[in-house]
Symmetry: C2
DNA sequence: TGTACATCAGTGAACGCGCGTTCACTGATGTAC
DNA sequence: TGTACATCAGTGAACGCGCGTTCACTGATGTAC
């Protein structure tokens, strides 16, 4: 018990054709560490090696450097987030339900994975090596929010009235509206994660409020949609 | 020219009673570095010492560690932000003008001082030693936004209509509304700073849009207020 | 007026640490003949 | 069937670096007698 404490994992070398097994383990370990660490941007190549139970040099066989490994992990996490949002929207009713479900899924994922969220969208990773990826990622995601918001807006009852006003919406306005909604959601997640010690109102309420503001709908309607989105039956 | 390149600053020891001179220089240098560095959270004690042109050990005479120095700087920067917002509000007309001016000042300060903004509100500083400060700071600032938003809402023309609805606003609703506005502004600054390479719409428009959404006012009115707030005459 | 002493404001060298990266290597497993 | 060889999957030691922190020190300036 005293001499074995220094040997955390006791890994056994993989058999011949199984080189990619370690690669998978590295990705898994890096993901776990990014999720766990209080400050994920301080992740270290040697930390990953230790977590897997392997020599630091062994990583170079699979990734040119830590940045490449992190980039790989972030791509996976981003795809996961996109899938979560899509799945949530699939189970929703109507364009407004689609929007609420997407937004709720986004925020909940963000607060449940603070480390990964920060790494993806916090802009804090090594020397902006990563953001090339996460930026493209963000645009994809932004596109889905823009589309969903535009759909929900078009569907709203007072739409006929609006037509007579001057605010006919072109794609540029739609894009800007979606961008604004995304920034609001991002701010919510970021501050919630950064100041978790503060007393926070119910998160689902805040999401509903936000969507209500951005769709000019009554809050109550949205709250109801958000609650059903939270517990899908 | 060849031997002097290694000696950056050529500092001269302060005279007897002037010990606090170095302290001021340290604060100034740390502020400059936090503003300048691409990733301010990687600021180092030795970097500050180099910037001032002093031995690393000399810092310990004035601050117990880097955390204390950074905390000091952040307190100053936060006070600066609060002052900027207050001053902007002083020059504005009416409760709505007050709100627009505050929000615009907040966002503009944030995008003009990305490093310091991140350090203050990004939640990325050394081991959460700082946030005790920046959290209290955030609450103060939040309070001013809550108050200003509540004032602007009370002032709005349709207020009488609203009175008859169920959404009479208690202080808790006001606090939540202010919090939501703050998260929106924070998200705007954070994403703008993180993805400056993206094509962004005009920032003043975005601010105006945001305030318009949160006050249920027509955008045009707010845009006008925001433009006059931008160039105070 | 002279001198011993105290204090102030920092210095400079050293320490141990964790880091990224390199390099020659090892030892098991498959393949050719 | 036996054996030489190639390849695969990773090891282990070493490197130079920048870091935070410590410690005894230095040298100018003020103060007491």
């Amino acid at each position: 018990m005293s001499s074995e404490e220094a040997v955390p994992h006791r890994r056994r070398r993989n058999p011949r054709g199984q080189g990619q097994v370690l690669k998978a383990e590295l990705v898994e370990a890096a993901a776990r560490l990014l999720a766990t660490l209080e400050r994920p941007e301080t992740l270290t190549l040697r930390q990953v090696a230790r977590e897997v139970g392997v020599a630091p040099a062994s990583i170079y066989g699979h990734f040119p450097d830590l940045g490449a490994l992190v980039q790989h992990v972030l791509r996976l996490r981003y795809d996961e987030l996109a899938t979560v949002m899509r799945t949530a929207a699939d189970g929703a009713e109507g364009p407004l339900g689609d929007l609420v479900a997407r937004c709720a899924a986004y925020v909940h994922w963000g607060v449940e994975h603070p480390g990964q969220y920060r790494t993806l969208f916090g802009g804090g990773m090594p020397a902006e090596l990563v953001p090339t990826n996460s930026h493209g990622a963000g645009e994809e995601l932004l596109g889905s929010v823009v589309a969903s918001l535009a759909g929900a807006r078009q569907d709203q009852p007072e739409h006929q009235d609006r037509d007579q006003h001057q605010d006919r919406r072109g794609p540029e306005q739609e894009w800007q509206a979606g961008l604004l909604l995304w920034t609001a959601l991002h701010g919510l997640v970021a501050l919630y994660n950064a100041h978790g010690n503060m007393p926070w109102p119910d998160l689902t309420d805040l999401i509903a409020q936000t969507v209500a503001l951005h769709t000019a709908r009554p809050v109550d309607e949205i709250v109801e949609l958000a609650r059903t989105a939270d517990r899908p039956t």
